[in-house]
């Protein structure tokens, strides 16, 4: 790079130093492009990049602050060493992005000339791509769009020789360019082959533990969830939306307990052998937020497993790999179904008892058993017990000790759904009724602006299922016996908390403002769902649907890939040829028309030699085909006049028409 400066022409535009506003503009847009990364990276790298960016902004006004080349080299080495010590998985996406950002930050210190700007803009575009490895929400997409337009405007500006009269002009130009690219983007979006594993399923979840259900329950684990307003999933029903009492969303089913913890049973996770008969069916599409859990959530009771998942023996819907990206699936559930049988294994698991069962609990159950003729009556008595004794539904239950169920049942009597569900399940087992604990979600907020259900983490719920001889597995929700309003309508967290301060930021205020706020929230969420539905959720199967809808069902992935690469190759070749041709003159319409005329004559066996002049050619044509004279002579005559005499556009038009109408035939 240390070339003799005299060899560089003074006016080489690439070597021109940058103006302040050019540097600032680039730094702003580059910062915009990189900003989403800062929240997911190791703080060291986030701060490093941020510091470098700020330093560069200061250096815009004090250019002597820019480091020399050797210093930059030392800095680069230092950061590389830091990187190797700090990053656990160097080859992971997170490591890659860390390296990219820090090196980009160092590159910022090198920007002095226009040439550097071109390179850095490319770097910026790449950074934008990497953002979508871990972010796909509409606001981030908008931010990236702005950054891209901004960076295009930088390219527009720097490709101009003279400075702009108005700087907004470049932005406008860039926006127009982006708009012009829109049809191409649309075609690519619709037709570009979809990867089965999405780009963003690179495991970026190293740091981001997600809130959500887990595969085991300890008292208090769900009440943690209830404090989270994060969206768990959204549901679009094909038919009418089921009433709140039927909105039980089935998640993990827990069998084993040690009196404190409830966990799943590996035996029950084998594929289901029995498929229930449905009496009432609901079809719907779910947009499940990434949960990092290897299961899907479906409306109770799932009729079958969506593509890529398995229905287990206890009707969980299990996936091979954790759901690390937005997952969209079509599902069918039975809101009413024929009785489900029980097998010996379920019988055994459904009656398993922990070691910390106390005599008080046994006595309570014995009391119910003596007065009941059937298991169903025992269930009824238990629910009545919860309903009539002074049990309180509370999100802030007192802490429980080693034998939590006993303490809850007889002493504190304050608890949340998991307390009621676990203790009820255990009591049923004591009574000899096979039972299991089901976790999932209950309810959901109906968004009138999109006509879909929005289920948040705060809708997490736990309930019980008992097996009754004549009715099979039956869902029993003891929480409903204590706080029926929890089931009937969405949870109002402020009310549920009862005492103490509010746990969530809720838009406060009276009537109008509150309704307004809610409308905005609903509107934004509906937008979000559309985004997920149409943009993020456009996966391989959606693409297949689209293609078959367009009557192109026979187009498969392989063909699409071949097309995509073929088209890319063709576009590349055309661009290449175009750029090579640019130096040369384009053939004028006259020459093209004459070429056509000659090709048509060649088609009947009289081809013009390259050096043959028009009059010579005419003579030869007419000597072979005197019958063509009435057509050929005027064409050649006017061609000669236009090409070698004084040309006129109208004359060319006339000649082109005449040639277009000239279709010589071979002599029969």
């Amino acid at each position: 790079m240390s070339a003799n400066p005299r060899k560089i022409p003074l006016l080489d535009p690439l070597q021109r130093p940058l103006q302040r506003y050019q540097e600032l503009r680039f730094l702003v847009f580059f910062g915009m492009a990189a900003s989403p990364h800062l929240f997911i990276l190791d703080e060291v790298f986030s701060w490093t990049f941020f510091a470098l960016l700020i330093y560069r902004v200061i250096a815009v006004f004090h250019s002597r602050l820019l480091p020399s080349r050797p210093l930059l080299l030392v800095l680069t080495l230092a950061f590389l060493i830091l990187f190797f010590f700090r990053v656990e998985r160097i080859l992971g996406a997170q490591g890659g992005i860390s390296l990219l950002l820090v090196m980009a930050g160092l590159k910022l210190l090198e920007i002095r000339r226009r040439r550097d700007l071109y390179f850095s803009v490319l770097l910026g575009f790449f950074t934008v791509i990497t953002v979508f490895l871990h972010e796909d929400s509409p606001p981030v997409a908008l931010l990236m769009l702005a950054a891209v337009i901004g960076m295009i405007s930088i390219l527009v500006e720097s490709s101009r020789i003279a400075g702009p009269a108005c700087r907004l002009f470049d932005l406008r130009q860039a926006a127009i360019l982006s708009l012009q690219a829109l049809p191409i983007a649309l075609v690519l979006f619709l037709l570009f082959p979809r990867l089965n594993a999405p780009l963003w399923s690179f495991n970026l979840g190293e740091k981001t533990a997600r809130t959500g259900l887990s595969d085991s329950i300890t008292p208090g684990s769900i009440s943690q969830l209830v404090l989270s307003s994060e969206v768990a999933f959204r549901v679009l029903f094909d038919g009418p939306i089921p009433p709140p009492r039927e909105r039980y969303w089935r998640g993990p089913v827990l069998w084993r307990t040690d009196g404190l913890n409830w966990t799943r049973s590996p035996q029950m996770m084998a594929p289901a052998q029995e498929v229930p008969m449905g009496l009432r069916v609901a079809d719907y599409r779910i947009f499940l937020q990434p949960s990092e859990n290897p299961w899907l959530i479906l409306l109770d009771l799932p009729a079958s497993a969506p593509d890529g998942s398995v229905l287990s023996r206890d009707f969980q819907v299990l996936t091979q790999t954790p759901v690390s990206a937005l997952r969209r699936y079509q599902a069918r559930s039975f809101t009413s179904f024929s009785p489900l049988g029980i097998d010996p294994m379920q019988q055994r698991l459904g009656l398993q008892l922990p070691s910390n069962v106390t005599p008080r609990m046994r006595a309570l159950v014995a009391g119910w058993r003596s007065g009941a003729a059937s298991p169903a009556q025992i269930v009824q008595k238990a629910l009545v017990h919860f309903n009539q004794q002074p049990f309180v539904y509370s999100l802030r239950p007192p802490l429980l000790g080693n034998s939590p169920i006993d303490e809850f049942l007889f002493e504190t009597r304050r608890g949340f759904c998991e307390h009621y569900a676990t203790s009820f399940t255990l009591l049923m087992r004591l009574a000899g009724i096979p039972s299991r604990l089901v976790t999932g979600y209950q309810g959901g907020e109906l968004n009138p602006q999109g006509d879909y259900l929005l289920v948040r983490q705060s809708d997490a719920h736990a309930w019980s299922e008992v097996w009754l001889p004549d009715r099979g597995w039956v869902r029993v929700d003891p929480t409903g016996a204590v706080a029926p309003e929890r089931i009937e309508r969405p949870l109002d967290i402020d009310a549920a908390l009862g005492e103490g301060e509010s746990a969530l930021f809720v838009i406060e205020g009276s009537g109008l403002f509150r309704a307004f706020g809610r409308n905005i929230r609903w509107g934004l969420d509906a937008l979000n769902l559309s985004w997920q539905r149409w943009i993020i959720g456009y996966d391989q199967s959606r693409q297949r649907d689209f293609l078959s809808h367009m009557g192109l069902g026979w187009v498969d992935q392989r063909l699409l890939s071949a097309l995509a690469f073929g088209l890319a190759g063709i576009v590349f070749l055309i661009l290449f040829a175009y750029l090579r041709r640019q130096g040369r003159e384009r053939p004028d319409p006259l020459a093209k028309a004459y070429g056509r005329f000659c090709r048509r004559l060649a088609g009947i066996g009289i081809s013009r030699e390259g050096h043959e002049g028009p009059l010579d050619f005419e003579r030869r044509v007419l000597s072979k085909r005197p019958d063509l004279a009435p057509e050929v002579a005027p064409i050649i005559g006017s061609y000669v006049g236009l090409a070698y005499g004084r040309s006129s556009p109208e004359g060319i038009d006339r000649l082109v028409k005449r040639i277009d109408a000239f279709w010589p035939r071979r002599r029969s």
């Binding site: 020459a591 030699e609 390259g610 050096h611 043959e612 002049g613 028009p614 009059l615 010579d616 000669v640 006049g641 090409a643 070698y644 005499g645 004084r646 040309s647």
Partner: protein
């Protein structure tokens, strides 16, 4: 104007029988204000052709037979001391004429040749500090015997370049030769003819030829031809810019003779052998003569 030119050609054809193309080329050369070199074996009518052209165009005509002992003074004239007036007086040589027929130019020594060739280029003669302009129009029609004949001093390339065209006449065909044998003496015939043109008419014709339209396509073609001779291995050296200018002017004159107001590629191709053959030398293949080189050139360069 066209009929006048046609009549010149027609009448000349009645003197030099069966050589209409050569006559037309020669006329084109004169219309393009170029000097003409006629090369052929003795006795095919070189001198007659030159004579006929000069006569029909109404030009003053002198003939100078080049020999090996010809001196420059014999061509351009000499200053002689006049005893009566007591000073030197310049006696104009044969070069001071409208048409100089330099017969067998390659029989003279290079010294005498170059005296003439300087006059051809400058269209003036400088002697002892005085510049004597040559008459207007001024043409040199030179004839030469083919170089392989004994006792010749072939013209060097630089001097050949000053002739716009070199034409050869060739033997007459059977029919023309019969007419020639039966007919009168050509000189007598010619002396009975009245000139068709005057010098003023001729310069008007020259002006008209210069105004013939050449389109960009023609310039492109012209330049492609020149470029090809300069880049291809087949040629020892390429055509000079002077050759390019001459080619275009000759093609214009040819178009005028053909009755067109614009130059066509055919015009270029028609005059190209005469304009280029004597300037081209084969590169790798020394056997190749100028004519076959020009044929190759025409075939190799496509029209734009």
């Amino acid at each position: 104007m066209n009929s006048t030119l046609e009549s010149v050609i027609h009448q000349a054809s009645s003197i030099v029988l069966g050589k209409e193309r050569v006559i037309k080329l020669s006329l084109a050369c004169l219309l393009a204000k170029g000097h003409l070199l006629i090369e052929d074996v003795p006795g095919v009518g070189k001198t007659t052709l030159a004579h006929a052209l000069a006569h029909l165009l109404g030009l003053e005509y002198r003939r100078l037979q080049f020999t090996s002992d010809l001196l420059p003074a014999d061509v351009i004239g000499v200053s002689i001391f006049d005893r009566n007036s007591g000073e030197f007086r310049f006696h104009r040589g044969p070069v001071f004429s409208q048409v100089l027929l330099a017969d067998e130019i390659n029989r003279a020594t290079p010294k005498a040749q170059s005296a003439l060739l300087e006059a051809m280029e400058e269209r003036q003669v400088s002697l002892e500090g005085t510049t004597h302009p040559l008459p207007e129009p001024f043409f040199v029609i030179a004839t030469q015997n083919p170089g392989f004949q004994i006792g010749t001093y072939p013209l060097p390339e630089s001097q050949l370049d000053r002739f716009l065209m070199r034409v050869d006449i060739g033997f007459p065909d059977r029919q023309a030769e019969r007419a020639l044998l039966k007919g009168e003496d050509r000189r007598k015939l010619l002396s009975r003819m009245t000139p068709v043109m005057t010098p003023a008419r001729l310069s008007e014709a020259q002006r008209l030829a210069g105004s013939i339209h050449a389109s960009d396509a023609i310039y492109d073609y012209c330049q492609s031809l020149l470029a090809y001779t300069r880049s291809s291995d087949r040629f020892y050296h390429g055509l000079s810019p002077r050759a390019g200018v001459g080619l275009l002017n000759a093609a214009r004159a040819w178009a005028l003779i053909g009755g067109r107001d614009m130059v066509l590629p055919e015009d270029i191709q028609a005059v190209l052998p005469s304009v280029a053959a004597h300037r081209l030398q084969g590169g790798t293949d020394a056997e190749t003569g100028g004519e076959s080189l020009v044929r190759h050139l025409i075939k190799s360069v496509p029209l734009p």
